[in-house]
């Protein structure tokens, strides 16, 4: 009799343990794969596209951050094995530099778009497959993507008309994926530094410290007259680095 009670209690404990494991597993799946809806068969398109494209955004962002906004720098300064594009350059002595990239934000957006577009289109195809596997009928139009680097965000717009039908019909015109980033402010500050470099041949980094508490600027002079600028946001840890060559003084009396 005593052993029956003991066995019954042990059985209950086992059931509770199994239940606890299942609950923990579900919670882990929910956090690890937010695009997977464990409670219904529907797909969350926004979350799915975000998880699909975010690694690509971060990848190209990391590349552009350390190469002056260029995926393949052409006219660059080598610094710690990195190729930093000259955004303002002069090959002469005593002269301030000529701007080499006046529309930096647009250029960076174009570079990002070029890099992530193939993957973004693949993500859309995968999304359609997801719906189809769950028994939806999917109709889609021509898709395009647009990348915007704006204040505190990088936004990738999937302009992809999509109609899905099962018991009811849903139509989407556009999906927007947004990633938090303070990159825009770094790009705008870089443009401001370029303005100073092209007019005065140098920039005073102390000025920026008084206006922007979260901004850190490291300025390194190279023997060939190049200056390496490394901007970073101390809170978000975003960074942007580029090179200039301006108002170079020769050795001796040239």
């Amino acid at each position: 009799m005593k052993s029956d009670v003991f066995n019954a209690r042990r059985g209950q404990v086992t059931i509770f343990v199994i239940l606890a494991i299942v609950v923990i597993a579900v919670i882990i799946v929910m956090f690890a794969f937010p695009q997977v809806n464990v409670f219904s068969s529907s797909v969350n398109p926004g979350a799915y596209l975000k998880s699909c494209i975010e690694p690509e955004i971060n990848k190209i962002k990391n590349t552009l951050s350390v190469q002056g906004g260029y995926s393949s720098p052409t006219n660059y300064a080598m610094y710690k094995d990195l190729k930093l594009q000259y955004l303002c350059y002069t090959s002469e002595f005593y002269k301030p530099c000529m701007i080499q990239q006046p529309l930096l934000v647009k250029h960076v957006q174009d570079e990002m778009k070029r890099y992530i577009e193939p993957r973004a289109k693949q993500c859309l195809e995968d999304l359609k497959d997801q719906y189809e596997r769950k028994g939806y009928e999917v109709r889609s139009g021509t898709s395009a993507i647009n990348v915007s680097v704006v204040s505190e965000k990088i936004i990738v717009d999937f302009i992809a008309p999509l109609t899905i039908s099962k018991e009811e019909t849903q139509t989407f015109q556009k999906f927007a994926v947004s990633v938090d980033s303070s990159w825009y402010n770094l790009l705008i500050t870089s443009i401001n530094i370029l303005q100073y470099e092209s007019i005065y041949g140098d920039s005073e980094t102390g000025l920026y410290i008084s206006y922007y508490p979260n901004l850190k600027i490291e300025k390194t002079r190279r023997d060939d007259g190049s200056t390496i600028y490394q901007l970073s946001d101390v809170i978000s840890e975003d960074k942007f680095a580029f090179a200039t060559r301006s108002l170079v003084w020769p050795q001796g009396l040239v």
Binding site: T74, N75, Y86, Y89, T90, S91, E92, P96, C97, M98, I99, Q100, Q101, P102, L103, V105, K106, H107, V150, S151, E152, I188, I191, L194, Q195, S198, I199, D202, E204, T205, G206, I209, S210, P213, K216, I217, E218, K219, T220, R221, D223, V234, I235, W249, P250, Q251, G252, L253, V254
Partner: protein
Amino acid sequence: MKIDKSWIVIMILLTLSAGSLVFAQTSPPGSSNNPNVGNPLAVVCCEETNSGAFCQNVPSAECKPSSRQVPTNCESTSYCRAGTCYDSTEGNCLDNTPQLVCNANGGVWSQESPPQCSLGCCVLGDQAAFVSLVRCKRLSSFLGLQTNYDKSVNNEVACIEKVQQQEVGACVYEFEFEKTCKFGTRAECNTQTGGNATVQKGNFYAGKLCSAEELGTICGPTTKTTCVPGKDGVYFVDTCGNPANIYDSSKVEDQLYWSNIINTADSCNSASGNALSSSCGNCDYLQGSICRSEKQAGKSPTYGDFICANLNCKSTQNGKDYKHGESWCVYNDAGKFGNSDNTVGSRFYKHICINGEETLEQCEDFRAEECISDTINGFSQAACKVNRWQDCVNQKDKQTCENEDVRDCVWKPKIYLEATQNRSNSQNMDERGTCFAENKPGLNFWSDTETTSICALGSKSCVVKFEKDLFGKEKVNSGDDNCWEGGKNSGNVSESWLKERQNICSMIGDCSSSLNWVGKPGNRKGAIVIGS
């Protein structure tokens, strides 16, 4: 009719000249009809260099073969002349941009600054920016505000004053059948929005907080805090998410403190920066503290998640403490500076304290720049400035030599270079001397031929003339006594004379044997090292 042969020759020459002029004008740019273009050393304005730089005055050989090149300065060309490039999306203007670079990247180029680039005051809530109209629209859109632009304000200070004069307070309005509140300016209150929809104009209570009981809103006090963009301190937050007064742990339950706006000057411990204070959030950026999360600051406050982080630098490389934003000069290479006695390879550095970290900026190498600093009200500021040493040796008296407005030189009395010995303006022998660079320039002596000519200024020959008598025996005839040890007859060059000459030589630049920046002597065998 008889035509003079010389006229025929002149006519032929004129025809040929005119023909070549027409040909030159119709030739495509970049074609190699001009003798300079074919010459790889001739400097041309190059559209794109081999390395990918645009619009550079470079030798023809460095120009990309497919790009345009004209044997003139880029300023004189239509495609490479510099002007203002306007970015119509961001509203930014960049000067000194070549026309083709601007146009190729989608900008709008103009030789003079266009009207779109004129600046005005952009009011962004309780903050301001002195920017162009398009930039103001862009910034306003980021913050979800209506554009408030005043082009009549023509300087940044007036723009900042304009927003500081704005009244702030509680804006009370009805939203979804509830009396709610938003803290902000009077102007913002007139265009109050709730959720995604614009709602009716609110009632503005200047100087009041949303949590004030008399307003009867749903907003009340909390123990939560936040950082407010554009402000230094840690602020309490009410239940509606509005910022209230400066965080003060003793005022959490003080109803009056949650009713009226209290100035930072009248808030807790306003004389100090309150860095890492767990009870007071009255941070002061100028004193090196600012609102940061407890994780970033490394200390927890009594209430909330934010605290005044310490941005100042303690025990820097020179052993001193500095405030955030302070900069100072460092010259810690071997040797001294400021008296023409810098060591070879030595350099000036500017150190800066940023966010509790000491960072450094090099001044231009070869001592082409030197570091200057000053302290105003206990705040140190340093800068790298150009070393104006080039015309020092040409100066003839102390006054013009040490004229700080035009050059960075130092007068050395009774020290002469051969070239300057009889040139001094002064009749007084004690005032005569030579002008040297305060910080002597570095020279590329290992590969540059120019160094030889600069250093040659310090050369001096110790001459002694010998005379042979009838039997071939040599005898000193004449010579300079002071360079010979024991007189000109001794045949031994004086050690002290050698040292003196070497000293003079090394004042000109990286000439003669000297110490390098780590304090090691560098010299040819047999040379005497100064200062070793």
